[in-house]
Chain length 297, copies 2
């Protein structure tokens, strides 16, 4: 399979899930300003890596990726709400995201908090809307449970809390991995597992896919940290000193830049090894794994 096939696949399903998420919100009977604020952030772009994981894993099972449209819309709503709340003045205080004003800069803090709350709540409703030919009641419940555990105190919200707690402290590798495993990793794992649940797969395959998602989650974060450093080096025209690095809890700061690159390579290899132990059609998933390691933004 050529790389452009993954590209075509990505482009097609990215468009579909974006349209699905917005259409679901448009159908709500709710104050216009609330729907506008929800849609504004859903439309703010992004790689849609979580939906893409759902679609690609469904493809690997030989299923129609469209079965994953509503779960993909739901997980993108969760991701979007987390960005809206993270950007708030009392959190990261960001005015811009992907070059556009953040939600609270456009709609005000109160509306931004409520738009986040509404997206979070709606994600669970959307999962109940799957048709019975797409998922049995038991499978829908397991999707809801997976999403709630991954997004909540034992997952993303827990990781975000630990990240805030870590400000100004120097972390060891274990503490840093706790943050990333939860703050970003759990939703990536959730995407992979939602597809595995929709495929009604056996627990051996689910275990391998969980391992796969764990490794790409950490790889994703390490590559983020590497891009930050290399982007900064490009900007200031010289290597960034370790005194600056140590201010932030990043993989390069803990392991050196080369060490981080080694760790990235290691996780990518372990992710691929997990995939290879399954009996799925993994070619496109392998390409997606390489994409995560090689992305430049």
């Amino acid at each position: 399979m050529s790389s452009s096939l993954l590209e075509d696949f990505s482009l097609k399903y990215k468009k579909l899930v974006e349209a699905e998420a917005v259409s679901l919100v448009e159908q709500l009977t709710a104050p216009d300003v609330l729907k506008e604020a929800m849609i504004y952030s859903l439309n703010a772009g992004g790689k849609r890596i979580r939906p893409l994981l759902i679609f690609t894993v469904l493809h690997a099972f030989g299923l129609d990726p469209k079965v994953g449209l509503k779960p993909a819309a739901a997980i993108e709503m969760i991701h979007t709400y987390s960005l809206i709340h993270d950007d708030l003045p009392s959190m990261d205080n960001d005015d811009l995201r992907r070059g556009k004003p953040t939600n609270h800069k456009v709609y005000g803090e109160a509306a931004a908090i409520l738009a986040g709350d509404a997206l979070l709540t709606f994600a669970f409703e959307v999962l109940t809307q799957l048709k019975i030919e797409e998922a049995s009641a038991e499978i829908k419940l397991s999707l809801i449970r997976e999403l709630a555990v991954s997004a909540g105190a034992e997952g993303m919200v827990g990781g975000q809390t630990a990240d805030i707690e870590a400000e100004g402290k120097v972390l060891d590798l274990k503490e840093l991995e706790y943050i990333h495993k939860n703050k970003t990793g759990k939703l990536l794992t959730c995407s992979v597992m939602m597809a595995a649940l929709l495929a009604d797969s056996d627990s051996y395959t689910q275990g391998l896919l969980r391992d796969f998602s764990y490794h790409i989650g950490l790889a994703f974060q390490i590559q983020d940290d590497i891009l930050d450093i290399e982007g900064m080096q490009e900007k200031i025209g010289k290597p960034v000193g370790s005194d600056i690095d140590n201010q932030k809890n990043t993989y390069p700061a803990l392991l050196t830049l080369d060490g981080a690159k080694g760790k990235l390579h290691e996780h990518i290899q372990l992710a691929k090894q997990s995939l290879e132990k399954t009996n799925l059609d993994i070619e496109m998933l392998l390409q997606l794994t390489d994409l995560i390691a090689k992305r430049d933004h």
Copy 2:
């Protein structure tokens, strides 16, 4: 049934649901500060009217009210998260709730937002935890759907958004009822309906219970507005002029104090009439309805 039997019933199940909610959060594997912030607000007291509605309706169906413990804990988590977010500086900016410092005054704004997000998310997980002998997969899904619709953009969050939008505007009765029906009414309806769903009741009975909950929801809010006025009159020692009333969108401001009392009586009567059309054991529900109309705080 004597009024003290309702009191004993209330006291017993209030304690049970408070212990259940806290115990569920304590079992989470999550940062201590997050769990503390969640539990702080769960423990902040209150009438627990939503859980009590679940237990009383289950009793009316002749079921063991304990079947409603997890749904009651879930709805109290949703109510608690909404109070945490409503109290934030960018929303109502309240420093105190029931005489205790609000969540963000103790834990900071970021932690308060995250504690709210975690409680909201956890409520859905708790509903998936019901045992199969308590609820079938289909019933669990209908509980999750009812909670998501009631708490989200089409319910509580929509009502809260409309309430913020209404600041400084004079509303008519229809607009005022939209706010209350959604901001407080939908979660009360959700409590009643969750019990009706757990009882696997017919759609005729469910329709009557939905009407019942609609009327007690509005009665609850009208009584709130009346208490505000009469409390203020007591404080300043003379009747409050309509010029002051008109600053706020309240039932007494729109209908006069006597008009509001008439409306309250009307909703209480309609609520009772709906109950009387069912074939349930409604005695304790009638007492609870009177309690809502006569409460003094």
